[in-house]
């Protein structure tokens, strides 16, 4: 249908009179873009900008601090998706600034890769309380909802820190008007929520949107569509991942989410409180809430202020205001083995992705190649 060569030449032959800034909001997309080397392939004025696309990066520090506190002080087993373990918090809890610190100090913290694994651990350890640190966007929260709605062992509790993507993207677009020219919408989230979830970017911001899959070919098709929108001066919502994304999404998954959770205002690390962007337990599941059973931890939270002005480099990276390699700590004090900020931890984090694929010094490569360094405003 489309050949990679024809898509690439289409993009390269489109003349753009001004910079064209394309925001992506999914760590999987950023990973695919970087691994394919797209930034070294296109013309100088096409900017591919990573935004808030990683649930690990935006998980608020107070939730991580609470998980560390429970693991160290409350004799519980914390089970968590692996990449949460290294995320640092600014203020230490009992001498630990990450879950991996706590694990190294003897706390029982176990990495898992599915909610069902958390339940299996609870069944294997009936004498211990298992607290599942549930972090993720809609794609992760749907299977978590399904798990929580099943019969669960009595020793199973949840520290809920899930987030909805659309309100955060809306926040980024509203707080930075005229900064982005197009949006690549997240394919996995759209699978659950439907392509219609992204119509708001057209209606409220006049931005073309393309839903992309995760193969470089699918992303290339989305990019070509968005760049075509720009040169033809039209604004469309295109679904370039139609094999899994439907207009209304996955009704069964949405029903599970609605049954298990209610939608609440929630704090995002680096962004602040975003209305209607988080999950709380529906009353039928409130007995699972770990915060009912254990005292809170004393941790300075930023969520008291309403959407604070962002200053730290991590916050600027999450909001798409700064390229990862423009951060003074990038690749210096902040590396995957010793992350200073959350974006350097997860494989979905923009800094980690850029670091792992060497975008920190892409100019060196490009000297031999034929394109120019990515620049962002």
């Amino acid at each position: 249908m489309y050949s990679v060569e024809s898509l690439l030449s289409d993009i390269k032959n489109t003349s753009l009179s001004k910079p064209f800034r394309i925001l992506n909001v999914c760590g999987g997309h950023e990973r695919a873009i970087t691994r394919a080397g797209f930034r070294t392939l296109f013309q100088h004025n096409i900017h591919l900008i990573p935004g808030p696309g990683c649930p690990v990066c935006i998980c608020p520090e107070e939730d991580i601090a609470y998980a560390i506190h429970l693991a160290i002080n409350e004799n519980v087993v914390i089970v968590s998706f692996g990449d949460m373990l290294r995320v640092p918090v600014e203020y230490e809890i009992s001498g630990c600034s990450s879950l991996i610190d706590a694990k190294n100090q003897g706390a029982d913290i176990r990495p898992i890769s599915s909610p069902q694994e958390a339940v299996s651990i609870a069944l294997e350890e009936p004498r211990k309380v298992i607290v599942f640190f549930a972090v993720g966007f809609e794609t992760t929260m749907a299977p978590i909802a399904a798990t929580l709605l099943n019969d669960l062992p009595n020793n199973f509790r949840v520290l809920l820190s899930g987030r909805l993507t659309r309100p955060a993207v809306a926040h980024v677009l509203e707080s930075q008007p005229d900064t982005f020219d197009a949006l690549i919408a997240p394919g996995h989230v759209a699978t659950i929520m439907g392509s219609e979830e992204w119509q708001f970017a057209i209606d409220h911001h006049n931005l073309p949107v393309s839903i992309a899959g995760f193969h470089p070919e699918s992303l290339l098709l989305s990019l070509q569509t968005l760049i075509g929108n720009c040169s033809n001066k039209v604004v469309t919502l295109s679904n370039r991942y139609p094999e899994v994304v439907k207009q209304n999404g996955n009704a069964a998954a949405k029903a599970l989410i609605n049954k298990a959770f209610t939608i609440v205002d929630a704090h995002w690390r680096g962004i602040g409180v975003i209305p209607g962007s988080g999950f709380s337990f529906a009353s039928r599941l409130s007995h699972l809430d770990a915060t009912n059973d254990y005292a809170p931890v004393d941790f300075p939270s930023q969520c008291d202020q309403n959407v604070p002005e962002t200053t730290s480099p991590c916050e600027k990276v999450i909001l798409g205001k700064m390229a990862p390699d423009a951060c003074p700590f990038f690749g210096q004090e902040c590396k995957p083995a010793s992350p200073k900020g959350a974006c350097m931890v997860s494989d979905e984090g923009a800094c980690r992705i850029w670091y792992s694929s060497g975008e920190r010094s892409i100019t060196n490569v490009i000297k031999k190649g034929n394109t120019l360094k990515v620049e962002m405003k």
Partner: protein, 350 residues
């Protein structure tokens, strides 16, 4: 296994347990019975003598010696086990410096409660691998540690090889324009062990590439133009190539499409967020060779078992920077750097 006594006790006396007991490491009768039942191998007279040290013959003035410890979990995985791995790993380390592997010594640290039948399987794997690679396991030792203080079974092997006819292979011989070759698909062992740990709730068709690289080394051993050979074990292809770039100061440019990765490995990496280029191989080699012999080396490799997928994956390039770097031309034609292993890979969230 070490014992000052002779070999005249009957091995028919039953062990009476299904798992390892602490007392089986105390050097007394129970240790002797364990050795008789599990470790003794009628084919290997040196080992069965149970002397304090083995005395062996040698052909030339030069030896190569290497040692390695094997702590893989789980100890049994598709395509091999820690016993076979402990022989292949050490044999391979000798082979890639051009030596002919001859003798192996081994030491076991076994955790109390470890399954006896698994131990037998592991020891059997060692003997089979030794027979296949024509090395003799000539001496050994067994210790048992209390439950909770060891991860099942740890095996150390030390290998000795003849090296009087060994070629001199070294990164200092590498020149700009040389070709980088790999003998087969990368990441198989690493991906297989990750899955076999079962922590991930995934099942797969993966098999470790655990095996001897001697058949891959033999045909190129005396070929002019081979600069450097190494096996990409821990840290996989990435660590090996970054070492070469760091030691030589040259860049290495790789063509991603040419690097063989099995589809199963690619899928596992995609799901768990791993990079196949940092996952271990246990039966592959990477060679840097002069461009005029790369076709010959590939033809040799492709004609033998486990070399069918051998590929020319990149070139050595002169650079103007102070430090050599490893770059990749992506299937899309873009460029990026190869991921340099920094921390222990953890499964990612989605």
């Amino acid at each position: 296994m070490k014992s000052a006594e002779g070999n005249n006790h009957s091995s028919s006396e039953p062990l009476g347990t299904e798992s390892i007991q602490l007392a089986q490491g105390n050097g007394g009768t129970l240790t002797k019975r364990l050795i008789d039942h599990v470790f003794k191998n009628k084919a290997n007279k040196d080992l069965d003598l149970l002397h304090d040290a083995a005395t062996v013959t040698f052909d030339g003035p030069y030896l190569s010696i290497t040692t390695d410890s094997f702590v893989v979990s789980p100890p049994i995985f598709p395509g091999g086990n820690v016993g076979a791995l402990s022989v292949y790993g050490t044999v391979n380390d000798l082979a890639v410096v051009g030596a002919t592997p001859r003798y192996i010594s081994t030491a076991f640290i076994i955790e109390e409660g470890f399954s006896l039948s698994t131990l037998k399987q592991i020891v059997n794997g060692m003997h089979q691998a030794a027979a296949e690679t024509n090395v003799a396991i000539v001496t050994g030792d067994t210790k048992v540690v209390p439950k909770g203080s060891g991860g099942g079974v740890y095996i150390n092997t030390t290998g000795v090889g003849d090296s009087q006819d060994a070629p001199i292979w070294d990164t200092s011989l590498i020149k700009a324009g040389d070709h980088v070759l790999v003998s087969g698909s990368v990441g198989d062992h690493g991906a297989c062990v990750l899955l076999a740990r079962e922590d991930y709730g995934l099942q797969g068709q993966l098999k470790s590439d655990c095996g001897s690289v001697v058949p891959l080394i033999d045909p190129i051993k005396h070929l002019d133009g081979v600069r450097f050979v190494r096996d990409p074990t821990r840290g996989g292809l990435s660590v090996l190539l970054h070492d070469v770039a760091n030691e030589t100061g040259f860049d290495i440019e790789l063509i991603e499409n040419n690097i063989p990765v099995r589809p199963e490995v690619a899928s596992v990496c995609e799901i768990l967020g791993f990079d196949p280029f940092i996952l271990a191989c246990e039966g592959r080699i990477v060679a840097v060779v002069a461009p005029d012999i790369s076709g010959k080396v590939l033809a040799h490799w492709r004609s033998i078992r486990n070399g069918e997928q051998a590929e020319h994956i990149g070139v050595i390039v002169k650079n103007t920077e102070s430090k050599g770097r490893v770059t990749i031309v992506t299937p899309m034609g873009g460029r990026r750097f190869m991921n340099e292993l920094e921390d222990e890979p953890l499964p990612r969230i989605c």
